[in-house]
Structures are given as structure tokens and as C-alpha cells.
Amino acid sequence: MNTINADAVVVGAGWAGSILAKELTEAGLKVVMLERGPDRATAVEGAYPESIDELRGAVRHRLFQDLSRTTVTIRNKIDQTALPYRQLAAFLPGEGVGGAGLHWSGVHFRAAPDDLALRSNVIARYGSKFIPEGMNLQDYGVTYEDLEPFFDKAEKVFGTSGEAYRVNGKIVGNGNMFSPSRSDHFPLPALKDVYTASLFRKAATDAGYHPYSLPAANASRQYTNPYGAQMGPCNFCGYCSGYDCYMYSKASPNVNILPVLRKDPNFTLITRAHVMRVDLDSTKTRATGVTYFDLDSNKEVAITADLIVLGAFQFHNVHLMLLSGIGKPYDAKKNEGVVGRNFVYQTITTSRAWLPENHFTNQFIGTGGGGVAIDDFNSLNFDHGPHGFVGGSPVWVNQAGVKPIAASTIGGGKDAPRWGAGYKKALVETYRHALAIDAHGSNMAYRDVFLDLDPTWKNTYGQPLLRMTFNWHDNDIRMNRYVVSKIEPIMKELGATKYQLGMLEPGQTFDTRLYQTTHLGGGAVMGDDPNTSAINRYLQSWDVPNVFVIGSNAFPQGMGYNPTGMVAALAYWSAHHIRTTYLKAPGPLVPV
């Protein structure tokens, strides 16, 4: 077997991996970054106009995970047989350099401070009995104040557009009044409102809510980030989600970090390298490197390194920990063990309004991160006492550019024909005159929702697939229904000719066939207690301290906000502590 030596090996070339690789090379380490997919360049496959191809892009999954090699199995309940997720649908992990950070939309939030200590806050406000039986509600172990410098850094690297509400305690603009104070403004001003967002802004105001511009890592003008990497301006082409931005205006590792990182002599990127496992020494408390399968030579290759960073997609990080024996696997029956525990998702439902025929919503105009939102029903911004559920949901118009094949899937909305002349008529009316309002909400963690290894199905490398046990729970369904009911006043202010509210139904079962969101989380969560978290507050494995696990796997529950901003801040936070503390004295950053 070939062996490569490095100071640090980083698994995955998405945001988490690229941020860590950049930080560690800055610290003088020789870093090897492994990516199982191909290299990806805007100049080649992202170029205009070839990349503006919905069929090849979002529909045939140009930038998404190649399921033919490996997938997961899914079941709703612990007594079911989980079956393979054979076709991409409900969620769409990325593959190739840039990872999901290349095909994401660009919504770039900071975390809501209350969400980071949700368990403590809920207990403080409503008492511990408010937490439903079976819910593993937990704190992150970090505060907004801890992370603020890293949220700020990530926004500057990403070239995020937005409007601040409060900077250094002083109200400075019309941003989100529920958002915490910031140390600085957004690096770029907010994007323009598309028509539907402007309607939502007005209607939400008239309904008594507090709309704000979504923070978007889609540059509102040309931008040069602190690394010197340049972005073009977003021209609202609508090809963000599922695509590589030909305008270089959506932040991605490829545009914002790798142009600089690739030139660093201490940095090596190896693509088409599928990591099989982290190699541990005989004590199982120290990693010696990783072994990957080289897709070109069809051979296994070992890399030895002092420091291992898992920066793959959320569930791939968990999968690698389970395959490698890092941390105690979660046992749902006993609610013990940590790897696989607190697997979470988000609750996403879309409501729709139709405008009069002389109002064209031009839904193809848009940007992935842009739009107008309200936070009146997110986090702990409202009184949960009367409702008896934990969690919340921002509500927004986020017109990311509706392409025609996607529109044909939506059709004419609920109750419209699915084919034939009636279908066509309703489809065209909807495409031309409708607008969508989403409730993009939290999803709590439960004892019976978790990740483990599947006993039956294997990937092409002969390793057991990861098994997801997931279903919707009453708490989150009721949260979603409550928040969606609060959209109704907005619908009335919009001047809609008709509207349909989309919400989860009581008892609804998770359906793998319909796209919901790729915002999967948890499974190897951060925290202060090694009995309920797999990694400490610095995202360091409790059990194998030279392994750091970066990603949304760290989230103890699914928050209302999109995860990328939090993942990036956690990556910079972890990197900061690796650089300032760990590298000087390698070992646990938090005593066990």
C-alpha cells in the first residue's frame, strides 16, 4: 500500500474542509485535503452558458452525490427494515471539490443566540416539564459571544450581502430586529428585492411583523475578500441552488478560498479519493492517519498525519466515525452512546399565493440567498408557553429562481390536475402569477431518531451503509402548523386572488421521495457532556483528541436557520483553538 505523510489530513473539500485547510496551512502545517469527487472549476464546467442547463444540473444531479457508489438506508421507525435511498430526492448531498458549498443557495445566517443554549433557555422560561418525553434537547456548549468573531470572519470571506440591525449595541439599520448585536456591518449591502419579496416585505409589515433582508452569500456587487479572492456581482440569473455560479458571485470554497489555497506550497488536494476510515493506534485513543480508496488506481492509499479533520457532509462524518470506531455508537433503546445520537433535519413547507393576471411574478428572476424574511416566530422570539412546543421557524419569500422543470413538478398547486390540458393551464398561471412563501423551521432531536450502521446493505467498497431512522414528531408538526397559520395575515395583505397554506399534517410520515431540504444535522453533536455529545465545544472528539469533526453534525438540534453560516463559524472557531492552543500542546482541549 502507498503511504503519504502529512502534518494534517482534511477529509472533504467543502466549506468545512477548505476553511480548516486554509487555517492549518496558514499555521505552517503541511495539509493534504481529500475529496472523493472530481475537481470542479467555474472556468470549465461552471462556464456560461453550458452550466445554465436545468436538466443536467438540478435534475440529473451534476454536482450531487453519486449514489451508484454509496448511499444510506432509511426507515421511519426502529422496528422497520430500512431500505436504500436509491434515487436522490429528499436531500441532496454534494460531491466533488466545493461539496455542498458549490451547489448551495447562499442563505447565510448567524445562529440565534437563544438557540445555542436551547435546553437551558426552555427550562429557564417554561420549566423542564415543558420538554416532551423522548426529546433530547441540548445546549451547544458555545455562546453567540464566543462565536461572534468567527461569524464576522466567515461573512467577510463569503462576501455576504445584508443589512445589519445592531452593530456594537447601536441600532444602525432596518435589519432583523431579533438578531443579536454584531461587531461590524455585513461586508456588502443587501441585494435588491425581487418583485415577490417586495410584496412580502410590505404585506408582512402591514400584518404587524418585522421583515428584513435575508443575509445572502450572493454578492450584491463585486467584492474582494480578505484572502484576495474576487467575486462577481449577482445578476439574479436564478441558477444558484444546484449549480456552480458562472458569475462567481455565489460564495463557494472554489471561488472564495481555493484560488488562494491551491497556490500554497503546503497544500495538496487529492481528488477522487474516497476515505474508508480513520486509522487508530492500538489504544484507540489516537488517530494515526486515514486510508482512502483511490478511484483512479482502484487501490487503497494510507496517509499518516498527526491531526485529522473530518470535514465531509454531516452524515458522512458520522459514518466515518462509526466505521473507524471513534466514540461510542448510540444505542437508541438505552439512549446511551453518542455517535449517531441527535440526528436532526428541518421542517420546510411552502405556501403559495396567486396574484391577479396583470401581475407577473417572473419567478425565474432570483438569487439563492436573497429574499425577505420575518423572524417573529423563530427561535424564542415569541412566547411558546400557550403552544406547548419547542422550536420555531423563519418565514420568507426566497425566490431563488424557479426553473421550468421544477415548476412543472409544482404544477398548479394543490388540487390542480397533474396532467392533461387542465394541468398545463394551471401550471402556466401559477408560473406567471404565483409566489411562494416558505416556513423553514427547526426540528428537534429525539431518542428514536438516530444514525447507525445498516446490517444488510453495503457500498461498492464493501462497507456497511449508514442507516437513518427518522420520522416527524408531534412537537415539530405542531410548531410548523402554528407558524404557517401566522402566514395567513400576510396572504390577506398581499392582494392574492387565492392562496394555499402548506403545512405538515398531524401524524405525517417522512417521505424520502420528495425534496425537502439538504439541511441534515446532528449525529455527532458538540456539547459539554461526553455522555450526550461526541465532540467537545471545540469540535474535538472526546475519545480521539487528534480528530476534529467539523460540520452540521455538531448541531444538537435542527435550528430554524439555514446551517452554512453556523458551520463556517464553527469551522473558524475550531481552527482558531487548534492554532492557538492545540498545536502548542496537542491533547484534549477540554478535560474529560
Binding site: A43, P49, Q222
Partner: protein, 459 residues
């Protein structure tokens, strides 16, 4: 850049052959002289002072040696850059200090003669792809630094580039002697022009860099029928840097102060930014110039870049009359209202406006403006046709590490559509260049080669 520059020679050589044949009988005598040079013993050992090596490395970049002597992905200066000529292909030589495969045996005197006079250590004449008529101006100190760098600062590499495929008698180099004698200045004469009087020392430094190592005129000065540059310095008259002949599809524009077609509206800082980062508010580098920035000018010091800019801004316009360009908002107003009735306007909004905008102002320095861009208003549309066919990549530089791509439109635009859209951009927003007809596009269609994107670093 290398290939671009050398395409000149494909036109030079037939002319030289014709003039040389009647004097072929002198051949024997000349060979004897050449042999004498080859036998010249190696000169005294140069010192390998690190400062001198650094100075030499800097001059090598100012002289853009890498453009012709380094292949991407191969060790620096190991040669092997191919040049396709009508009579065959030649490859640039290995100029690393390897004694057998490179120039490690050359004395400093031989080295200097090669640089300044285009004479190899074996006495053979170089093809004038090597810009020795400009390098003739290099000071002794700079030549010495270059020699020390190429002896002690470059890693020797024992590889020989592929052999030339030019067959005898076309492979004979001796007729080039006459070209050199007629058109290349003797070093003593050239050095004298370097020392001419300038308004200040900054402009003097700029002149030295542009006229000497930078050899800007090799592309940007028009050439005579015998293909020597019509002016080698600003002192030779107003044709110097007034725009070269089209080479390899690209048409190097004037670097003089014409308002519309030259650098008349470029500030000193614009020129500095262009040379350092390949992108400036009024235009971006493409074609051969992208290589020149990537290999050469991005490494120059602030002082030297400002000196170059100050010097270029001192060159009076050649083209007269020279009315000032003014932005005309009519096109923008029409396009923003969805009016695409003008010739080429629909093609423009369908394929170009995404990056260059309805107002033609682009998003500099990421995507360059077409409104007021001197290249767009150049009399000759060669570069515009070439970029539609080949695309372009803004090179990554030290201070601007991102490289942006303009795709090739060969697949989506017909020659007629290309003619239409080029005519559109040449007359929109206050631009005033003549239209382009479809025959011109057909005539300028590249016959081979891949889009520029292929060889560029990924981003």
C-alpha cells in the same frame, strides 16, 4: 504570448530567404566565424551573490523570459514551448544551467551576445522570436545579473526539447545574419538610446523597462514589410507602440495616448493595476497580454510599474483627429426597455449582457467594460473575433488570485451573429468603430487550436 510573438517570424522568414539566397556563396566564411565563437572558452566564473541572483530573477521577469522558455507544469526555463511555422515546428531551447542540455557552458560574453545580438554560443543566428533588438538596450549590470541568475539561480535540467521539424534547406539559420545586420541595433548604439535625455528619472526608468527588457514594441509597434519593428524606441518617432499587426489572431492595440483607441483615458493607477492584476477599470488583459502579466509584469515593483505607466502616458497620440469618448446612454435606455431592434442587440442581450451589462460598463475588474474600451474601438476587429472564438481567462496573479473566464462562443454564435454583435458593441454607448461584416469574421476565424481556457489554471 510566446506563440503570438513568434507568429511574426512565420512572415519574416520567407522574406529573408528570398534576400539571402543570392549571397549563399558567402556561407563558408560565415561558418568559420561561427566556429570561432563556439570555440571561445568559458568566461571567468561569475559570483553567485544572492542579491545579484534576485536582481537577475527580477530582470528575467521584466524580460518575460518564462513566456517562451517555460512550459506550464514543467520546471522553469527548461524550454520546449512549441512554435508552429509554415515550414515546420520549432521549440524554444532549454536555458537552464545544465552544461549539456542548457546554457551552462556559455561564458558571460556568449550569454550577453545571445541576449543582445541574437547570436547563439555556436555562432548561429537566433530566429527573431527572441526579441534581441529590444534586449540590445539592456545595461551591462542587468545582463550580468541575468547571467548570474541563469547560472546560479535556476535549477539545471538535463532535458532537451524536441528537435525542430523544419527540414533543410529551410532549416539553415545563416540568412538570419543579414536580417540582424539590417534591423537589429548594435548594443553600443542601443545603449546610447537608453541613456537619452528624459523629463525625469522615473520616465527614464519606464522607458528603459518598456523599450528594453519589456520588449513591448515586439507586439505593440507596427512592422515593416520586412517585418522589423518600424520604431524601437519612443525616440524613433510616433509609430512606436502605436499598435502592432495582428498576431495569432490578436491585434495588439496602441499604448499611446489616443483617447478612444489608446491609453488616453487610463490613469497611471489604471495602468499599474492592469500590469499587476490583469484587470483595470477600463479593461482586462486577454490574448497574449494575459501571459505577459502572468509571467512578467505582475512581479514588477510598484516603482517600476509606476515608471512604466508614467512613460506610456508621455507618448503622444499618433492617430488624429482624436475626439474624446463620451458615454452615450441611448443604448442602455433601449435595452432596459426591452428594445432589441438595433443590429446585434438581441445577440448582445442573449449572450453578452450577463457579464458586460446592458450599459456596457461591465463589472470591472471582474468583467471588463465594453463601453469606451480601446480594444473594442480598435480599427481592426481581430481581437474581438478571436476572443469570441477562443474565450479568455483573466490570469491569476499574486495580488489578485482569482481568475475569471470568458467562454468561447464558437458553439452558440454563427459568423453572422458574431458580425452583428461586434458591430453592435463597436457602435453602442458612444463607441464609434466601423461595423464588422460576416466576411471579415470568416476570414479571421481561427483554423485550429483550443480555446484559451484549456491551459489556464483552474478556479
Amino acid at each position: 504570448m510566446s506563440r503570438v510573438r513568434f507568429a511574426l517570424c512565420s512572415r519574416i522568414l520567407p522574406v529573408i530567404m528570398l534576400t539571402a539566397v543570392p549571397t549563399a556563396l558567402c556561407c563558408a566564411g560565415l561558418s568559420a566565424i561561427a566556429a570561432a565563437f563556439a570555440a571561445d572558452p568559458t568566461g571567468r566564473p561569475a559570483n553567485s551573490d544572492p542579491d545579484l541572483i534576485r536582481q537577475g530573477e527580477y530582470m528575467a521577469r521584466a524580460a518575460d523570459c518564462a513566456a517562451c522558455h517555460s512550459v506550464r507544469g514543467q520546471p522553469p526555463y527548461s524550454g520546449g514551448v512549441p512554435f508552429d511555422l509554415p515550414m515546420g515546428r520549432i521549440y524554444s531551447p532549454n536555458i537552464t544551467p545544465d552544461p549539456d542540455h542548457g546554457i551552462g557552458h556559455d561564458s558571460e560574453e556568449q550569454f550577453a551576445r545571445a541576449i543582445r545580438e541574437g547570436v547563439r554560443h555556436d555562432g548561429a543566428s537566433m530566429y527573431p522570436a527572441m526579441p534581441f533588438p529590444s534586449y540590445a538596450r539592456l545595461t551591462d549590470a542587468d545582463v550580468h545579473a541575468l547571467f548570474v541568475y541563469f547560472r546560479y539561480g535556476v535549477k539545471p535540467l538535463a532535458t532537451t526539447p524536441p528537435a525542430s521539424t523544419i527540414i533543410w534547406p529551410l532549416s539553415m539559420r545563416w540568412p538570419l545574419i543579414f536580417w540582424r545586420g539590417m534591423f537589429a541595433p548594435a548594443p553600443q548604439v542601443a545603449l546610447k538610446t537608453t541613456r537619452r535625455t528624459f523629463p525625469d528619472t522615473t520616465i527614464a526608468r519606464g522607458a528603459y523597462l518598456v523599450e528594453g527588457p519589456g520588449h513591448c514594441g515586439a507586439c505593440h509597434t507596427p512592422r515593416a514589410l520586412t517585418l522589423q519593428e518600424k520604431a524601437l524606441t519612443a525616440a524613433d518617432g510616433p509609430l512606436y507602440l502605436s499598435g502592432g499587426g495582428a498576431v495569432d489572431g490578436w491585434h495588439p492595440p496602441s499604448l499611446r495616448q489616443e483617447n478612444r483607441t489608446g491609453l488616453g483615458r487610463w490613469s497611471e493607477d489604471d495602468i499599474v493595476a492592469f500590469l499587476r492584476e490583469a484587470g483595470a477599470p477600463l479593461g482586462s488583459a486577454f490574448g497574449g497580454m494575459a501571459d505577459a502579466v502572468e509571467h512578467g509584469t505582475q512581479y514588477l515593483t510598484d516603482n517600476d510599474l509606476h515608471a512604466i505607466a508614467r512613460y506610456l502616458r508621455s507618448l503622444q497620440p499618433t492617430r488624429m483627429p482624436d475626439p474624446a469618448w463620451r458615454y452615450d446612454p441611448a443604448t442602455e435606455t433601449a435595452l432596459r426597455q426591452g428594445d432589441v431592434t438595433a443590429r446585434g442587440a438581441r445577440v448582445y442581450v442573449d449572450h453578452c449582457a450577463a457579464c458586460h451589462r446592458d450599459d456596457g460598463r461591465g463589472y470591472p475588474t471582474v468583467f471588463p467594460p465594453l463601453a469606451g474600451n480601446p480594444v473594442v474601438m480598435d480599427d481592426r476587429p481581430d481581437s474581438l473575433v478571436a476572443i469570441l472564438f477562443k474565450g479568455a481567462v483573466l490570469p491569476a496573479t499574486r495580488t489578485a488570485p482569482s481568475s475569471f473566464v470568458m467562454p468561447s462562443f464558437v458553439r452558440s454564435l454563427s459568423p453572422q451573429q458574431m458580425a452583428d454583435v461586434l458591430s453592435f458593441i463597436r457602435s453602442a454607448w458612444g463607441n464609434d468603430a466601423p461595423p464588422v461584416d460576416v466576411e471579415t469574421v470568416r476570414k479571421l476565424t481561427p483554423t485550429g487550436g483550443a480555446p484559451a481556457i484549456r491551459e489556464m489554471p483552474l478556479n
